[in-house]
C-alpha cells in the first residue's frame, strides 16, 4: 500500500515537473538584487520560493513533498532544493529565476536528510542521507557535471546526519550527526533516545576519510547536533536540540575551532541559564552574517532569534518572533533575513527588526533560508 502511494505521488510529481510546468509559477522581472530561497507549505501543497529583501516573491517551484534546505553553487548560478527527511528527491534549479534543471531521486534504501553542499569547484554535490534499513548516516556524492550521477557514498560515523557545510579550508566537509536512530520501517519515530550518540565530524571531501569526530560531553549526550554555520575565523557554530527531560537547563549553541583543531572539545557559548531555558531546548536554524562575525540562531519553540558577536562571544540581540525558523545573511545590509511558519518575512538591520509586507499569509515558511547573489 505504501509503495503504491509513493509510486503514484512520484509519478504525479514527475508529471508536474516534466510536463509543461517547467516554467516558474510566478515569474517576475528580476530586480538585480539578492534573492532568498525558502521552502514553504500552502494548504496541502509544498514548494520553494525565491523572494527579494523587500519580501517580494520572484518565483515559486512546486515540490512533491515538504522541502527543507538548499545547497548553493559558489557562482550562484545553480542551487539544489532538498526535501525534508525522509526526503525522496532533490531538485536542481537556477536560483535566479527558479528554472528547473534536473531532479535527483533518492537511491534505494537511502533518503535525503534535507541538507547538502557543493564542493568548492562546484563539480560535486554532497548530500546527507540515511540508510533506511540500518539508520546509519552517509554522505551521498553526486557528479554535478555528469547529470548528478551518484558516484559514491561515505559514512558519517553516526545516525541521523543533518546539516553539512564545506569548511573554510575548502577541503573538509563538516557534518552534524544528530545521533538519533530512525528507520524507514518506523518513519520519524526516534528509537534510541536513552542512548543517543550525536557528534560533529570533519570528513575529507576528496576521499571521504574521517579527519576528526567530536562528541558533546557525556552528560549532554541527548543534545542532538543539527545545524551549522561557519565564521570568518574558520570556526563552526553548532545549534542543537535537546531530547532529554523538559526543563533541563541545557546549553544549545557551541563552537568548535574547525578541522585543524582536530579532536579538541566543542565549547558552549556562555549565556545565563534562563536565556537557554527560554529557547525551549530547541534551535531550528543558524546563519552567519556576510562578515562571518555575527551568528544568528532561531528557536521556533522559544519564538526567539538570538544574535551573537562571535569575535567576543557576546549576545548582541534577542528578537521575539512566533514560530521563527528560517534565517539567512542579508549581504546587502549586513544584517539578517528571517521567516516564520505564519507566513511572515522579517529583515534585521543593525539589530532592528522590520516585518515586511506579507504577500500571502497562507504560505507557511519552512525551516531554512538561503541567500543568493543574483
Amino acid at each position: 500500500m505504501r509503495s503504491m502511494a509513493t509510486d503514484i505521488s512520484r509519478r504525479a510529481a514527475l508529471g508536474i515537473l516534466g510536463g509543461g510546468l517547467l516554467l516558474p509559477l510566478l515569474a517576475r522581472a528580476s530586480q538585480g538584487n539578492d534573492l532568498f530561497l525558502n521552502a514553504f507549505a500552502e494548504d496541502i501543497d509544498f514548494g520553494i520560493a525565491g523572494f527579494d529583501s523587500a519580501g517580494r516573491v520572484h518565483f515559486s517551484l512546486p515540490l512533491p513533498q515538504r522541502g527543507h534546505s538548499f545547497a548553493r553553487r559558489a557562482d550562484n548560478r545553480q542551487a539544489v532544493a532538498f526535501t525534508r527527511r525522509p526526503g525522496s528527491c532533490a531538485l536542481i534549479f537556477d536560483p535566479r529565476n527558479g528554472k528547473l534543471q534536473h531532479r535527483i531521486d533518492a537511491m534505494e534504501d537511502r533518503s535525503f536528510c534535507g541538507h547538502g553542499t557543493y564542493s568548492a569547484d562546484g563539480k560535486r554535490l554532497f548530500a546527507t542521507e540515511t540508510i533506511g534499513s540500518t539508520g546509519d548516516g552517509v554522505i551521498g556524492v553526486y557528479a554535478a557535471e555528469d547529470g548528478f550521477r551518484r558516484v559514491g557514498e561515505w559514512p558519517t560515523r553516526g545516525f541521523d546526519p543533518h546539516e553539512i557545510l564545506l569548511a573554510a579550508d575548502g577541503r573538509h566537509l563538516i557534518v552534524a550527526n544528530g545521533g538519533i536512530l530512525v528507520l524507514a520501517d518506523t518513519p520519524r519515530l526516534k528509537l534510541n533516545i536513552p542512548d543517543m550518540d550525536p557528534s560533529l565530524v570533519y570528513i575529507d571531501s576528496r576521499d571521504g576519510r574521517l579527519t576528526a569526530q567530536i562528541r558533546p560531553p557525556r552528560e549532554l549526550h541527548q543534545l542532538s547536533l543539527r545545524h551549522l554555520a561557519g565564521d570568518r575565523r574558520g570556526r563552526v557554530a553548532i545549534a542543537m536540540q535537546y531530547e532529554g527531560p523538559k526543563g533541563d537547563p541545557v546549553p544549545l549553541v557551541a563552537l568548535h575551532d574547525g578541522p585543524q583543531a582536530g579532536r579538541s572539545p566543542m565549547r558552549f557559548l556562555s549565556l545565563p541559564e534562563r536565556k537557554w531555558t527560554a529557547l525551549r531546548q530547541y534551535c531550528g536554524s543558524a546563519a552567519m552574517d556576510r562578515e562571518g562575525k555575527l551568528l544568528a540562531v532561531t528557536s521556533p519553540r522559544g519564538n526567539q532569534v538570538l544574535v551573537w558577536n562571535l569575535d567576543d562571544e557576546r549576545l548582541l540581540a534577542e528578537h521575539m518572533i512566533d514560530d521563527v525558523c528560517g534565517v539567512a545573511a542579508d549581504w546587502e545590509s549586513g544584517g539578517f533575513m528571517m521567516s516564520n511558519g505564519q507566513g511572515h518575512i522579517f529583515r534585521e538591520q543593525k539589530r532592528e527588526l522590520t516585518m515586511l509586507p506579507t504577500e500571502n499569509a497562507k504560505r507557511r515558511w519552512d525551516n531554512h533560508m538561503m541567500p543568493i547573489r543574483v
Binding site: 520519524r188 512566533d322 507557511r364
Partner: protein, 357 residues
C-alpha cells in the same frame, strides 16, 4: 469512503475561524481538567496495577508452578491496560530518567530486546538484577515487552522447570516487576506531591518549564496527537502491510500476549477521553467540536468491529477489510485533529516547532 471523509474535513475546515484570540483562562481550564481528570487518575492507576504485579511476581516465584502462571499474566494485563491508558503522556515525570522508554521499549525493529535478554539469561548474573543496578541497565531489558516474553508463549515453561535457569528467570521477572512498580510510583509522586509537583507546574505555570497556560497546553495537544499518530502510523501500519500476504503480525505491539488490538482500542479511547474531558468543553465552535468527536467515535467503532485478534485479522482475507477500515479512519482522525484543533483553540503548535528537524 475515503473521499466522503475528506469532503467532511473540508466542510468543517471551511467553517472554522482560526483568527480569534483565546484568553489564558481557557487554556488554564483545559490544563486543569486534563491534569485532574485524565493524567493523575491514570498514572495513579498505573502505580496501583504495578504494585499488584510486583506482589504477584513475588508470590509466583516463591513456588513457581504452571497453574499459577495465570495469576501473573492477569496482573501483567492489568499493568498493560493501565499503561496503554496513559502512554501518550510522556512529558514531565515520564520523561525523567528515560522512564517511558524503560517502561515499554517499543517499537524495537532491531530486536534489541531479544538479543539483550538472551545475553542476560545466558550469563545469569544475579548482581545485574539488584534494583539500583537494574534501573540503569539497558532500557530494552527493563520494560513490559521483556516481561511479556518471560510469561507468554512457550518461554513461560522455562519459569517453572526445576533448574538454575528457571530460578534466574524468576529473579529477572521479579526485578522487572519491582522496577516497573518503582517507576510508576515515582511518576505518580512527581506529578502529585510537593511544591514542585508537575501538576502544579502545569496548572499554575511559573516559568519552568512553562511560561503560561497556553504553552503548557501545547504539550497536552501533542500528547493527544501522539496517541493517534502512534496508533495509526506504527501500531497498526507496521503489522498491516500492503496485503494479507505482506502482513507482518509479529510486528504488532503485543503479539505474544495477543492483545495488540486491545492496546489500540485503549489508546483510542484514552485519546477520546482526553479530548472530551479537557479540550471539547473549551471549543468555541460546537460544530467543529462535534466533528472531531464523530471522527473519534468512527475510529473506535471501527476498532470494535474487528472480530479476530489483530495478529490474525491482518492475515485473514475475511477479517482484513475491517482492519483496513480502521487504518483509514485513524489516519483521517489524525489529519482532522492536526488541521482543526490547533486552529480552533489557537494552540501554538508551530509549523516549524511541532516535529523536530
Amino acid at each position: 469512503m475515503k473521499r466522503l471523509t475528506w469532503l467532511a474535513v473540508f466542510a468543517i475546515l471551511a467553517c472554522a475561524d482560526p483568527a480569534h484570540a483565546v484568553p489564558d483562562s481557557v487554556y488554564a481550564g483545559i490544563n486543569e481538567r486534563a491534569v485532574q481528570q485524565h493524567i493523575l487518575p491514570r498514572y495513579g492507576q498505573l502505580a496501583v496495577a504495578t504494585g499488584k504485579l510486583d506482589a504477584a511476581a513475588k508470590t509466583f516465584c516463591a513456588a513457581p508452578a504452571v497453574d499459577k502462571l495465570d495469576a501473573v499474566r492477569k496482573t501483567y494485563n492489568e499493568v498493560e491496560d493501565a499503561w496503554q491508558n496513559i502512554q501518550h503522556v510522556r512529558f514531565g515525570p515520564a520523561a525523567n530518567a528515560s522512564r517511558a522508554d524503560r517502561f515499554a521499549f517499543w517499537p524495537d525493529p532491531r530486536n534489541i530486546i531479544g538479543k539483550q535478554m538472551a545475553a542476560l539469561l545466558a550469563k545469569r548474573d544475579a548482581a545485574a538484577l539488584v534494583p539500583e543496578k537494574f534501573a540503569h541497565a539497558s532500557v530494552a531489558l527493563q520494560g513490559l515487552p521483556a516481561l511479556e516474553r518471560l510469561v507468554f508463549t512457550d518461554q513461560a515453561e522455562k519459569l517453572t522447570a526445576k533448574s538454575v535457569e528457571a530460578v534466574f528467570r524468576c529473579q529477572y521477572l521479579q526485578a522487572i516487576a519491582g522496577n516497573l512498580a518503582a517507576m510508576a510510583t515515582q511518576i505518580d509522586h512527581e506529578w502529585r506531591d510537593g511544591a514542585s509537583a508537575f501538576a502544579t507546574r502545569m496548572t499554575q505555570p511559573n516559568g519552568t518549564p512553562y511560561r503560561d497556560p497556553r504553552e503548557a497546553n501545547v504539550d497536552l495537544f501533542k500528547s493527544l496527537y501522539f496517541a493517534v499518530e502512534l496508533a495509526a502510523d506504527h501500531k497498526l501500519a507496521r503489522p498491516l502491510g500492503g496485503s494479507a500476504q505482506e502482513a507482518r503480525p509479529h510486528l504488532a505491539e503485543s503479539w505474544r500476549s495477543l492483545r495488540s488490538l486491545r492496546n489500540l482500542q485503549l489508546n483510542l479511547e484514552a485519546a477520546r477521553n482526553l479530548y472530551l474531558t479537557a479540550f471539547a468543553p473549551a471549543m468555541p465552535d460546537k460544530g467543529t467540536a462535534e466533528g472531531i468527536r464523530a471522527s473519534f467515535d468512527e475510529a473506535i467503532a471501527a476498532a470494535n468491529e474487528i472480530t479476530l485478534p489483530l495478529e490474525n485479522a491482518v492475515q485473514d482475507g475475511k477479517a482484513r477489510p475491517a482492519v483496513e477500515k480502521l487504518a483509514r479512519s485513524i489516519v483521517a482522525l489524525k489529519k482532522i485533529l492536526l488541521h482543526l484543533l490547533p486552529a480552533e483553540l489557537d494552540i501554538p503548535v508551530g509549523f516549524n516547532a511541532l516535529d523536530g528537524d
